[in-house]
């Protein structure tokens, strides 16, 4: 194909042919990233909306269900993520000042922390599977005890008409179906979040490869900045997920 570019001579290797200069290219990719994050907010927003509606419709069931989550693992992961946000910020800084070794080191650290998060998530999910807490035909909350009252939660005592969850204060008969909804949302929301983490990990590996090849410099580092933005966004989603799923209603009684 013929190249009709008036800027063909001596431009930066990272400059795509249809942009005038690196500044325009950078502005463009930044804007795109922000717009993309707006779509992400709407995407998670649908789930958050469903969560808020069911949380307010079935407060008791949700409180019981959230007590079955492992706060220690959740809290641990929250710390891991916050630290990874910091290391990611350091990678961006290192890229901006052009320190290649630091950049690679911080990217690897971030990757390790992200991997840790996913590892913990794996064990958490495994635990839920083993205890029959995965919604579906084999859902089984019966073996679970209400951590507050110690009473077993019975099958079949559900109230199917919505807005009318069990008002029993002792917690001996709890609507199983509503608990199931909690776990549906738990898996949907944390699953979607974990999926974003996996993509983030892939992006980090890609960045590490690029940095090793000396792609980034003080002048050109927007991929690092953009992945950083993405990573922080995913962290922020977790910052909302953690209290909503693990904390609210823990001492509900």
């Amino acid at each position: 194909m013929p190249v009709h570019s008036d800027h063909a001579a001596g431009h930066h290797p990272a400059l795509a042919h249809h942009f005038q200069d690196l500044d325009q290219q950078k502005d463009t990719t930044w804007l795109a990233m922000w717009v993309f994050l707006a779509t992400e907010i709407m995407f998670f927003g649908g789930l958050f909306l469903a969560y808020v509606i069911y949380r307010s419709t079935y407060p008791d069931a949700f409180a019981i269900a959230s007590n079955a989550l492992d706060v220690k693992m959740g809290l641990g992961n929250t710390f891991v993520l916050i630290i990874s946000s910091f290391t990611m910020a350091m990678s961006v800084y290192s890229a901006q000042v052009g320190k290649k070794t630091n950049l690679i080191a911080f990217l690897i650290l971030t990757l390790i922390l992200g991997g840790t998060f996913l590892g913990v998530k794996y064990f958490e999910y495994k635990d839920k599977f083993e205890h029959g807490l995965v919604p579906g035909r084999h859902f089984d909350f019966a073996s679970h005890h209400d951590p507050k009252t110690g009473a077993a939660i019975e099958h079949g005592a559900s109230s199917s008409s919505h807005g009318e969850s069990s008002h029993s204060e002792t917690g001996d008969k709890k609507p199983l179906r509503e608990i199931q909804i909690f776990f549906s949302l738990y898996f949907a929301m944390t699953g979607l979040h974990a999926f974003h983490m996996i993509i983030g990990a892939g992006l980090l590996i890609w960045l590490i490869g690029l940095s090793a090849k000396n792609t980034f410099s003080k002048e050109y580092n927007s991929p690092v900045e953009l992945v950083g933005l993405y990573w922080h966004f995913v962290d922020i989603v977790w910052i909302f997920l953690f209290p909503l799923l693990y904390l609210i209603g823990r001492h509900h009684h």
Binding site: V35, T39, F43
Partner: protein, 555 residues
């Protein structure tokens, strides 16, 4: 002459001659070629959807359900709706005309992210593949709205693959919207300020915002529905503790704005065509530009008018009803401004302009009946009758498809360098217009008289009107088929045109050759005047009534 006519060297390479291999088409990053990929795909989908429509109309010729079992009829209207809405109407103007024109109108070499652009076409194809697979595997019967709990619990048909297909297709729409929005912000030529943008660009901008904010919501909704179907989760099924009304809220939060994804770009096309064939600057440029913004805002707050009988409180219904009236204001602004533009203009009746007239008339009927439907009492009366079917076909087919036809005829010479045969095109336009009215006008009456939608059978008294409707459907189908035939014909045998056969304003006409070169412009254009400055063009006086004559003379 102040018109810059780009020198047309015969042997000069353009984007069509820049490569002939399959690879040069299927791995292209050129927005103009991607527009062609979309054009071919949506045309195919349009005819697939059309076949379903034809089968439905055949069934409805007689009162009994004799051609199809009711179950199969359910699948027909479901597949028709899905294919037409998600695979034809939504991508039609943005993905075909938008892709082709946006960079040209902005004076840019390409969209901001050419690879992403190609990716979005592949994503579309992946989504379409799932849908076609479902058709072959036996179809879906939920209606294109997938209302729960029917779709998640009762239906025994292939809900999951379709939902997955639509989930995927949604990303194609999001990616296109994102790409366009960023392109409009960052890729404008020097001097091209916001208020010098062609109104088509404003429309595409508004559409992009809706795509970006709305589509993720439907994606996640369909995801939840799919998961519920597979794992019996109970998010929407009341028997499992869920809430079906929540599904409707989420669904219409997207699908009402989606109506504007369909119609707003069409209105963008109308702006361009109206001014060109009236030889006047558009009346009320800013009002139209801001009306687009109004559409965006209001489209997100009226979804509840689809749920007036779905069990929301009377107060919500009232509020949604009132808000819905407000949306009418923005359509009215546009329709009035187009009419004012034509007033005292020197109008020429070429095919694109005929489609604009078609659009004006049909969209007006569609829009006004939409106001009827926003009235609570009336909606309760005609809810889920053929009145609604007629209404949305007037808006979608009478509105968007007319606009699309106007646009494709208008820019065809730019896209191909060839002129379509004008008199055959006019004939086809008349077929489409009269076929359309014959098909759908009787349906208003049918609905008002009480014929419900989505049934394969009806009582005898409705037969006459149904026969009219089916007859109209055949005329309509004929008109569209003829369109495809002469368009393809003109690719090979059409008369060659110069860079600006309509003598229109706009960078794509005045600064780019027909067809444009690969990088669109030989040098980046600099914009120094407002759009639609027809008054400042010398040729306004001797503008030929029948442009085709001039084209013939040239060839």
């Amino acid at each position: 002459m102040s018109v810059t006519t780009v020198p047309q060297q015969q042997e000069q390479e353009n984007y069509l001659t820049a490569g002939y291999s399959l690879q040069s088409w299927f791995l292209t990053y050129d927005h103009k070629r991607i527009a062609w990929l979309y054009l071919a795909s949506i045309t195919a989908m349009f005819f697939i959807g059309g076949i379903f429509a034809a089968l439905m109309r055949l069934e409805l010729m007689t009162p009994a359900s004799d051609l199809f079992e009711p179950d199969n009829y359910n699948k027909l209207f479901t597949m028709h709706g899905i294919v037409m809405v998600f695979f034809f109407i939504i991508p039609a103007v943005p993905a075909v005309l938008g892709n082709f024109l946006l960079p040209l109108m902005l004076g840019a070499k390409d969209v901001a992210f050419p690879k992403l652009n190609l990716l979005s076409w592949y994503v579309y194809i992946a989504g379409a593949t799932f849908t076609i697979y479902t058709i072959v595997a036996g179809g879906v019967d939920t209606g294109w709205t997938f209302y729960t709990p029917y779709s998640t619990s009762s239906s025994q048909t292939h809900v999951v693959p379709v939902v997955l297909g639509l989930f995927i297709t949604g990303f194609s729409s999001i990616l296109t919207g994102l790409n366009f929005m960023v392109t409009i912000h960052r890729m404008r030529a020097p001097g091209l300020t916001w208020f010098r943008l062609p109104l088509m660009v404003w429309s595409l901008y508004a559409t992009s915002i809706i795509q970006i904010l709305g589509t993720p919501v439907i994606a996640v909704t369909l995801m939840m529905a799919g998961l519920e179907k597979i794992f019996k989760l109970g998010i929407f099924d009341p028997a499992l503790g869920g809430d079906p009304v929540l599904f409707q809220h989420l669904f219409w939060f997207y699908s009402h704005p989606a109506v504007y994804i369909m119609i707003v770009p069409g209105m963008g096309v109308i702006n361009e065509v109206v001014t060109c064939f009236s030889r006047r600057s558009i009346f009320g440029y800013r009002a139209i530009a801001f009306a687009n913004v109004g559409f965006v805002i209001f489209s997100f707050v009226v979804w509840g008018h689809h749920m007036i009988v779905a069990g929301q409180s009377v107060y919500s219904a009232l509020i949604f009803s009132i808000l819905s009236y407000l949306v009418g204001i923005f359509s009215a602004i546009k329709v009035f401004n187009w009419t004012a533009t034509m007033y005292k203009g020197s109008i020429s009746y070429d095919t694109p302009m005929l489609y604009v007239f078609g659009f004006q008339g049909l969209f007006l009927i569609g829009g006004l009946t939409g106001l009827f439907l926003s009235a609570l009492g009336f909606d309760v009366h005609v809810h889920d009758t053929y009145f609604v079917v007629a209404h949305f076909h007037y808006v979608m087919v009478g509105g968007l498809v007319m606009a699309f036809m106007a646009g494709i005829h208008f820019w065809w010479p730019k896209m191909t360098g060839k002129m379509y045969p004008e008199s055959i095109a006019k004939f086809a336009m008349i077929l489409v217009f009269s076929g359309f009215n014959l098909t759908f006008f009787p349906q208003f009456v049918l609905g008002y008289l009480g014929m419900p939608r989505r049934y394969a059978s009806y009582t005898d008294e409705f037969q006459l009107l149904n026969i009219m409707s089916t007859a109209g459907g055949s005329v309509l189908g004929l008109g569209f088929t003829l369109g495809v035939v002469y368009m393809v014909w003109s690719l090979f045998y059409g008369k060659a045109v110069n860079s600006n056969p309509w003598k229109a304003t706009g960078l794509e006409w005045e600064k780019a050759s027909s067809p444009p070169i690969v990088e669109n412009f030989h040098e980046t254009p600099i914009v120094t005047e407002d759009p639609y400055n027809y008054a400042n063009r010398d040729f306004i006086k001797d503008f030929p009534q029948e442009l085709s004559k001039e084209v013939n003379a040239r060839a």
